[in-house]
Symmetry: C2
C-alpha cells in the first residue's frame, strides 16, 4: 500500500455524529476490514448533476476528483440510454447485436488503423488482465515491466504487477519496475529492466504503462518514451497502453493518452469513463495478437459488452463529441495549469487537460489539504509514491466557475 | 476448450441471408477471432419479456438457457430501479451509501451466521479471483482443487483453475483436478488430490466447486461432499462454494446450492443472476479471512457495489422473494425432472430445481438437438466433459406452459 491516504480512520468512529457513526459501524460489520472510506469524516451523496454532488440535506459539493462520471454525474442522455435498453433487453455477446458492432466500429475509428479488434470486459482490471493474457500468449514471454508506483487493477494477476497495492502477493517474480518518467531516464531504465529480465532467463512479454502515470503522481512529459517502446519490441515484447484513466478525452488532446507521445501501442486497455459509471471496459488490440490468443482460447465475459453496457458506452461517446468535451478538457486544463503554477505551496504542477497533479511540500500537507478542501465542499484526491501530489481529475464538464472555485479552495488550504 | 459446441462456424458465413452475413462479417472484423456466436444460424434479439425473447420481426423464442435474467428478461421492477438510480447518482464504495449497507445486511441474512462479510465485484470471474486471493492470503497455501471440467471464470488466475477452458495457460502447477461427483468417489478423489499436493510440497489453499457442477454436466447428488470438505480443512485449506450459477434460488431449495449439502463454506462467490443482468457480483466470507487479507491489502473495485449495482441487486432480491421464485423453481423443476425421465433418448436426467442436465447418446446428438430446438424457437445449451448433456437453465419465472413447450420440443428433437 502507498502509505496512509486521505481515508477515514475507523479508530475515530466515536467522533462522528450519531447517524453517521451508526451507518459506519453497520458498514464496517458487513463489508469487513479491507474496505476504506474517503475523508476524516465520511460523506454520503444522494444525487449528482454535472460536476456537483449533493448530500441528503441539499449541501452541494464540487467534484474535482471523480473521473468515472466523465461526461458529468447522472448525465440525462446516458441515464436515458441505460433506462431504455434495460427496460427492453439485457443480453450478451453470443447473440448478434447490431448496436455492439456499430459501437465497436465507431470506437475503433478513434484508434490507429493497426488496432483493429476490440474485446469487451466489465472493468479496467479485467481489461488489463485480458491484455496480459493476450500479450503472454502472443509473445510466449512472461516478463512485464511497470513503473514503480503503478496501479493497473485488482485481479490476482494485475495486483501482482501493481506495486502501489503492495499486499500479500507483492510483485510476481517476472515483474520489473522502473522509476516514473521524470524521476529517472525512462529509456535507460527500461533498457536496464529488459537486461535484468534477460539475465534472469525471463522472456519479455510487455511494457505496460498508464499513459498519464496517474498513480506515479501524474507525468505528462516522458523523455525517451519511443526509445523505451522500441527496446521492448526489439526484445520480443509488446507495448500496452493503459488508458483506463487518461482515455476518452480527459487529456484534451484527442481521445487517447498514447497519441500525445506519437506511439502506436500493440494493446490498449479502456475502462472507468467508458460508460460514465456503467460497468463497461475493453481491450483494443492488433488483430494478429487476438488471433494468436484465439488459436488456443475462446473468450466470453457474461456482462462484458452486454446490450445495456453498449447503450451506455455509445451514449457516453456521443456526448463526449456532441458537447465537445475534449476541447473543454484542453481549455479548462490550460487555465488550471497556468493558475495553479502561481499558487503558494504548489511546488510543481504537472499534467495536461483535466488530469493535473500538484506536488506539495510533503504527504501531511497533501492529506491535510484534501481533508480541508472536503470541509470546503470540494472533492480532491492525492497520489504519487510519496503521497505528496494533489490529484485533480474532475468530470470533463468542469467549467470556468468550477475552476475558479477549485483554485480559490486550493489557494486557501495551501496558504 | 471442451471441444466443439453449438457455436456458429465462421466457415459457413456465406450460407447466411445477406443481412445476417453482413452483420456477422462486420462483427468478426471488429471483435476478432476469440469470440463465438451461438447456433448454426446466429440470431439477434431486440426485446425480452419474462421467459421470452423476440427478434426484430416479432418472432418469439422460449428461453430455457439464460440464467442471468433470473427473474425474467427486462423485469420492470429491476429496470425501473436501474433507471431511477442511474438518473440520480452512480457512485462508488469510498463514499457512505445506506442502500449498500441495507442490501449487504439483507443478503447476508440468507447465509449462515459464520459468513458475515461481503465484498463487491462486477463479475463472477472477479469474485472467484478475489476469493482465491483471500484464501491464499489467509491460509498461506497455494494449492487449489477443482473438478475436471470446472469453469470458474476468465481472469488469468481463474482461467488457470478452469480445465474446461483449456488454452495457452492450461492449468497452473498448483492445481489438482478430481473427477466430477458421480464419475468417481468424490471424497476419495479429494483425499488423493490433497496427498498429491502435499507430496509436491504445495500447501493446500482451497477446494473450489460450483455446487451444481454445471460445466461438469450438472450433478445434484454428491456422495462424500462433507468428508471431502473436512479433509481439505484438516489439511489447512478452505472450502469455496462457487454459487455464480446455482445461487439465488435456482435450485428451488433455498438461496444457495451449498445448503443442500448441509455444508458451511468458508468463502462463497456470487455473480450472474445477482442483478438480473446488471454487472454485479460478490464474495461472501468469514470475517476472520477478510481480516487476514485486509491486514496486507485494501480492496477497491471502481464499479463493484456502485449505487446502481446495489439498486439492481436489491430489486432482484426483492422480486425473488415477492414472486416466490424459489418455490416456482422447485415446482417447475420437479415437473420437468419427472417428465424428462420419460422421454426417449434421455439417457440420464440430473439436477434439481431449474438446473437440469439431460445426458443424451453422444455429443453429436446433443449439438444437433440444441440447433434443432433453436429452429423450433427454443433456446437451450449443452454441457459436460463429453459435451453430451443438454443444459436446461431458464429464467426462474418459467411456468407450466413454458415447461410443456420445452418438453414437447425436446421430445421431438430426440426422437
Amino acid at each position: 500500500m502507498a502509505g496512509p491516504t486521505a481515508y477515514f480512520d475507523p479508530a475515530t468512529t466515536n467522533q462522528l455524529d450519531e447517524r453517521t457513526r451508526d451507518l459506519v459501524e453497520r458498514r464496517s460489520r458487513v463489508l469487513g476490514s479491507a474496505y476504506r472510506l474517503f475523508y476524516e469524516e465520511p460523506v454520503q451523496f444522494v444525487r449528482g448533476n454535472g460536476t456537483k454532488l449533493y448530500t441528503a440535506d441539499g449541501t452541494e459539493y464540487l467534484d474535482a476528483y471523480n473521473n468515472v462520471p466523465s461526461v458529468g454525474h447522472a448525465h440525462p442522455r446516458v441515464a436515458a440510454a441505460i433506462a431504455e435498453q434495460a427496460a427492453r433487453l439485457t443480453t450478451h455477446t453470443r447473440y448478434l447485436d447490431r448496436a455492439l458492432v456499430d459501437y465497436a466500429e465507431d470506437l475503433l475509428g478513434t484508434f490507429p488503423a493497426s488496432l483493429g479488434n476490440i474485446m469487451f470486459t466489465c472493468t479496467g482490471s479485467e481489461a488489463n488482465d485480458l491484455a496480459l493474457r493476450i500479450a503472454k500468449a502472443a509473445t510466449g514471454g512472461t516478463g512485464i515491466i511497470v513503473t514503480e508506483n503503478a496501479y493497473h487493477g485488482v485481479t490476482t494477476e494485475i495486483a501482482s504487477i501493481s506495486p502501489s497495492l503492495g499486499g500479500p502477493e507483492s510483485l510476481a517474480s517476472w515483474v520489473r519496475v522502473v522509476p516514473a518518467p521524470g524521476d529517472g531516464d525512462f529509456a535507460a531504465d527500461v533498457h536496464a529492466a529488459l537486461a535484468d529480465l534477460t539475465a534472469s532467463g525471463i522472456r519479455p512479454a510487455a511494457l505496460i504503462v498508464d499513459t498519464i502515470f496517474a498513480s506515479d503522481g501524474v507525468r505528462a512529459k516522458v523523455v525517451g518514451f519511443a526509445d523505451a517502446v522500441a527496446a521492448v519490441r526489439a526484445a520480443g515484447g509488446l507495448f500496452i497502453a493503459d488508458e483506463v484513466q487518461p482515455g476518452f478525452g480527459r487529456l484534451g488532446t484527442g481521445f487517447w493518452g498514447f497519441a500525445r507521445h506519437d506511439l502506436e501501442p500493440d494493446l490498449v486497455s479502456l475502462g472507468k469513463p467508458m460508460g460514465n459509471g456503467y460497468p463497461v471496459a475493453a481491450v483494443v488490440a492488433r488483430p494478429d495478437l487476438v488471433d494468436a490468443f484465439g488459436r488456443h482460447a475462446r473468450y466470453f465475459n457474461t456482462f462484458g459488452g452486454s446490450s445495456v453496457a453498449i447503450a451506455a458506452a455509445q451514449a457516453t461517446l456521443d456526448v463526449v463529441r456532441d458537447e465537445e468535451l475534449i476541447k473543454n478538457a484542453r481549455v479548462m486544463g490550460d487555465y488550471l495549469l497556468a493558475e495553479l503554477a502561481g499558487i503558494d505551496g504548489a511546488i510543481e504542477v504537472r499534467g495536461v487537460g483535466l488530469f493535473i497533479g500538484v506536488r506539495v511540500q510533503n504527504e501531511k500537507v497533501a492529506l491535510d489539504a484534501v481533508n480541508a478542501l472536503k470541509r470546503r465542499r470540494i472533492l480532491l484526491g492525492e497520489s504519487g509514491r510519496a503521497n505528496d501530489v494533489l490529484k485533480i481529475r474532475p468530470p470533463l464538464v468542469f467549467d470556468r466557475e468550477d475552476a475558479d472555485r477549485l483554485l480559490e479552495g486550493i489557494s486557501e488550504v495551501l496558504s
